[in-house]
């Protein structure tokens, strides 16, 4: 069930991202809705490990399908982010909203830097580091943080619906 819900959420998220949100940039940065959904899902207590990874794989492949960047780059970047986030989450008693914001900020920084490096050194596109950081990476991080909490609430409700927790 969670796989079907995940597929639906991520498909709708990708459509929103490509059709609407990518056209509303902050300077030149855009929000990465799929990244926020995946991080919010990974921070929930209910989903099992395999469910988190299926969502991650689906989200990465969906984005890689429409983007100029190759899909393995999305898979690798998302996988590293989710892996690190799950490791941190296991060491904490309960994931807090602070971890969500911290995770999204660091994940955006990591992912956009990875993409910058890929375009700069593999595709040899002339991308100035300073401008890339100021006009793309930082604004994207701000946008992701703005969208983080609303998306987190939706994913939290979904996780509680899919995996109801017994009250202690």
């Amino acid at each position: 069930m969670s796989v079907i819900i995940g597929l639906a959420y991520l498909s709708v998220g990708m459509m929103l991202q490509t059709a609407i949100l990518s056209r509303i940039p902050l300077i030149n940065g855009t929000v990465d809705l799929i990244l926020i959904v995946l991080i919010a899902w990974a921070l929930q207590d209910g989903p099992e490990e395999w469910e988190v990874w299926v969502w991650t794989l689906v989200g990465a492949v969906l984005l890689g399908f429409v983007s100029k960047a190759p899909w393995p780059l999305y898979v690798i970047s998302y996988a590293i982010i989710i892996l690190l986030l799950r490791q941190v989450q296991k060491k904490m008693w309960k994931a807090s909203v602070l971890l969500l914001f911290l995770g999204i900020a660091l994940a955006t920084l990591f992912q956009q830097s990875l993409f910058y490096g890929f375009y700069r050194f593999v595709y040899t596109v002339p991308l100035p580091l300073n401008e890339s950081f100021l006009y793309i990476i930082v604004p994207s991080m701000v946008l992701n943080l703005l969208f983080a909490f609303p998306v987190y609430l939706v994913i939290k409700d979904t996780a509680e619906w899919l995996h109801p927790q017994e009250d202690v």
Binding site: T18, S22, V66, S67, K68, L127, P128, S132, I136
Partner: protein, 281 residues
């Protein structure tokens, strides 16, 4: 009971009285007499009538207010519907104007064959400027085909699926096209950037570049037809010790407002890679 007997003299008196009254009335004396008697009555009736009208107005006005409120609500609903229709019609009109402009452009260049396509999305990666179109290989779209609007060059088809295509925009940092200016024939290369600004570079120092010059595709390299408008020279940067001069170019196309584009289907990009000598060969 025996009815009272009327005498002839009584009838005569009555007739005389009637004749007297008629005479008084015709002579005008009676109206003065009656006026004094009916004046208070008329005043009383006027007062009663005015009070009645006020009370009637007060009673019926409350029901009218309810009716007016209902009427007002109905009118407000109608106004909202009409405003919605106006907005829809304005949107339709704007789309129609867009299509007419594209149609006029297509008719002005009858040698080219076009495929009209809607822009349905943008590449999620903010580093690159690519858009997604709703037409693909099943509609005849192929990789490398130039994409334009009536205002100028938009980009080229970068990837194609059966029902969609991805287009590399002119202002993407990985885009480059050979160009020349319209008046001075200064040749150079226009490239995009991460901010979306266009730069015309590789213009030799002896050529003249002036703000306001129109920048067109030159056709060199075989990737694009010649004479497609790209934009207008804004500022020129020339350094004495540099090999080339450069200029910032204001794009003719507003890439944030792209909705409908034309794909030139009968232009085949020339593959020149085999003609470029390899190092060591």
């Amino acid at each position: 009971m025996k009815p009272p007997k009327i005498h002839t003299w009584q009838i005569g008196v009555l007739l005389l009285l009637m004749a007297g009254m008629i005479t008084l009335s015709m002579s005008g004396y009676l109206s003065e007499m009656l006026g004094g008697a009916t004046g208070p009555l008329v005043s009383l009736q006027s007062w009663v009538s005015s009070r009645f009208v006020r009370i009637y107005t007060f009673v019926t006005a409350s029901s009218d207010v309810i009716g007016l409120v209902q009427q007002n609500e109905a009118l407000e609903r109608e106004v909202a519907n009409l405003q919605k229709q106006v907005i829809e019609m304005e949107e339709d009109l704007r789309e129609a104007q867009l299509y007419y402009a594209l149609l006029d452009f297509a008719r002005s260049k009858p040698d080219n064959q076009y495929i009209a396509a809607l822009v349905i999305g943008k590449d999620p990666s903010p580093f690159m400027n690519y858009v997604i179109l709703d037409h693909g290989s099943s509609d005849g779209v192929r990789m490398g085909m130039p994409v334009i609007t009536e205002k100028g060059l938009v980009g080229r088809v970068d990837a194609v699926t059966a029902n969609a295509a991805r287009v590399q925009l002119v202002n993407s940092p990985d885009f480059a096209v050979n160009v020349q200016t319209q008046n001075t024939n200064a040749e150079g290369v226009v490239t995009g950037s991460i901010t979306g600004a266009l730069v015309m570079d590789m213009v030799i120092q002896t050529m003249t570049l002036q703000p306001g010059d129109l920048v067109l595709t030159s056709g060199l390299g075989g990737n694009f037809p010649s004479n497609l408008l790209i934009g207008e020279v804004r500022t020129v940067t020339r350094q004495e010790n540099a090999l080339f001069q450069s200029a910032s170019v204001q794009s003719a196309v507003d890439f944030r407002q792209l909705e409908v584009v034309l794909i030139i289907r009968n232009f085949q990009p020339v593959e020149i890679d085999p003609l470029i000598p390899q190092e060591g060969s």
